[in-house]
């Protein structure tokens, strides 16, 4: 084990659908935490960008969710789980530019259809599971 820690570090944030006044708070708090831990800026940047997009998706599409992170000596694992409508066609949702964002979210500048592709781009391992009518879970692993 490195000097960083002997115990895995973990934490979580609750996300509430439609609650845009807090949108991005979980990701920016995580960014701050990772920076304070002394992680490399490139890692912090990738993690916070990927988390930000995932957080926004929960707020736009789902009723509620959780963002959880687990840090060990060699990986940062981020899991975003929501209770929401789920995704019918994941392959389609993963395409750049595909978006079903509602008008109110577009008016705020979201809905470019770049969120999921950008999460994948910024993680070393990316997994998405979804059950229509139940919810979606995104898991991202970034190697430290």
């Amino acid at each position: 084990m490195s000097a960083r820690s002997n115990v895995p570090i973990e934490g979580s944030f609750q996300l509430i659908g439609g609650k845009f006044d807090k949108a991005g708070e979980a990701s920016t708090s995580l960014k701050k935490k990772l920076t304070e831990m002394g992680l490399n800026v490139e890692i912090v940047r990738r993690a916070s960008i990927a988390t930000f997009e995932a957080e926004i998706n929960v707020i736009i599409y789902a009723a509620a969710g959780w963002l959880r992170y687990y840090i060990t000596d060699d990986t940062l694992r981020i899991v975003i789980e929501d209770m929401g409508p789920g995704i019918e066609n994941i392959e389609l949702a993963m395409q750049e530019g595909y978006s079903t964002a509602p008008e109110w979210a577009r008016a705020m500048g979201w809905g470019a259809g770049m969120g999921l592709p950008n999460m994948k781009k910024n993680s070393d391992k990316f997994k998405i599971d979804s059950v229509v009518g139940e919810g979606t879970t995104v898991e991202m692993i970034i190697n430290l």
Partner: protein, 116 residues
């Protein structure tokens, strides 16, 4: 190009962090799509946008953007200003529209993001 020069060219009002006006900016980017801000991340950069709500500042923070120019004289929301103060991001308001503001900066030598 330093932020002070940018604000001069854009005849802009400095809303937050006037202490940061000597910060050197290498690239600029104009968009009203926040995912584009996150996708085409480049350091030492400036964002020109018509969006004035606090998520612009959060997206800028995550993307390490140093300054945000609000076009067409749009005044940022109070919460946007408070957040920018906290995050030490400089906010400018220009009377020019996005096209004109971008054109003026480009003409003065500030380049757009390189092709990725």
């Amino acid at each position: 190009m330093i932020l002070g020069k940018i604000s001069e060219i854009l005849e802009a009002a400095v809303v937050t962090n006037p202490g940061n006006l000597d910060k050197d900016i290498k690239w600029a980017f104009s968009t009203d799509l926040l995912s584009n801000v996150l996708f085409y991340f480049i350091p030492d950069s400036l964002l020109l946008t018509g969006l004035i709500h606090p998520q612009v500042v959060r997206a800028a923070e995550v993307a390490n953007i140093d300054g945000i120019v609000f076009v067409q004289g749009k005044k940022p929301e109070a919460e946007t200003i408070a957040l920018a103060n906290e995050k030490k991001i400089t906010l400018l308001v220009t009377p020019f529209c996005m096209y004109t503001a971008s054109g003026k900066l480009y003409q003065a030598g500030l380049e757009g993001f390189p092709e990725l």
